[in-house]
Symmetry: C2
Subunit: 207 residues, 2 copies
């Protein structure tokens, strides 16, 4: 392993350790000692990558934007729906993303760039809704900027309530229910039956 | 002022002071010293009402249920909408309610009865939606339990995003937008135009 590879691996292991600690304790109660203990690295090595607890938190917040993969579908409303379903699935699986969302939602002594996280998702959704509008998928009279804010706001809360009740196990069901209620006020009537609001089935394995 | 009145007043002043401190710092960073300093009471008097920081936080969480006033309207969907608008307006004005919501949303070392807060609002909304259903206000096929969860989840997130962007100043606009999108998937078509999704205008003063 080259020195560069070792460095990358150390960095990732610090972020994963920090994600677990922030996810368990929140920013204020988390300590760099505990993060360090989980990595098995030396203090010097950790400080080389991240000089402060805040620097680690900033890197975690950035992870949210990196997790935003925009699915490309012929119907752009399908892309928006899939984006929320994919993000939900990743939240269930990835502690780094969970920590990132928690750092964005909670007000702590860490002055997170909270708007930035919402704006990155918002920009991706707004772009898709504008394309959807051009393709005639959106009901006349709908303000796509307002639709974007509503989707971002609703999703933020749905994942909190799902976390409180089932540790996010029922998140995809909650997102599906949200789309069932949201689509009649957003999409042209002929389109609704053609949009899938549950997860895409995995491709069948070859015989 | 009787001793009982003095006691009540002290209790309220502790809750208000605590609300400000929790709202500013979150549970973990808040200290009873800082709360005490804001009240001007003696430590003994504070401990008489609330023996621990946790006891204060529990009393604050209860404040959320107390703030739930269920507006009585002939159309029960109007009652649900008004409930969300009234709660929004109170969030803007009442630091005790803001602290209560924050304690419910954030995961801290304070093990808040987080589900309880959602269940109290949820029970009120579900009851209204069932009445709305009986009165023929709900679209056939709608699962009112699912509608309740969607309203609670969406509202939770809308107020967070509004807090991040405008310190909750635009919260009522966001709630109005949410209802504009939600109603076509929830209410019978003839009803939608008759439901008011903005705040009720104040009664005109007598001439």
């Amino acid at each position: 392993m080259t020195q560069q590879e070792r460095g990358k691996r150390s960095k990732r292991s610090i972020l994963e350790a920090a994600a677990h600690v922030f996810d368990e304790r929140g920013y204020d109660a988390a300590s760099t000692n505990e993060i360090l203990a989980r990595t098995g690295l030396t203090r010097g090595s950790m400080y080389h990558h991240f000089p402060t607890k805040k620097a680690i938190a900033m890197a975690l917040v950035d992870a949210q934007a990196e997790a935003l993969e925009v699915p490309d579908q012929p119907m752009k409303l399908q892309s928006v729906i899939d984006l929320t379903l994919d993000f939900s699935r990743r939240l269930q699986r990835d502690p780094v993303l969970r920590a990132s969302v928690r750092l964005t939602i909670e007000q702590t002594s860490f002055d997170a760039p909270r708007q930035t996280a919402y704006e990155q998702s918002g920009a991706a959704i707004l772009r898709l809704l504008r394309q959807a509008e051009e393709q005639g998928e959106i009901l006349p009279g709908v303000d796509v900027q307002e639709a974007t804010s509503t989707i971002i706001g609703a999703f933020t809360g749905l994942q909190i309530v799902s976390q409180v009740y089932t540790n996010r196990e029922d998140l995809l069901d909650r997102v599906t229910a949200f789309w069932r209620f949201m689509l009649p006020g957003l999409a042209t009537p002929g389109l609704i039956g053609r949009l899938r609001i549950t997860e895409q089935p995995l491709p069948a394995s070859a015989p």
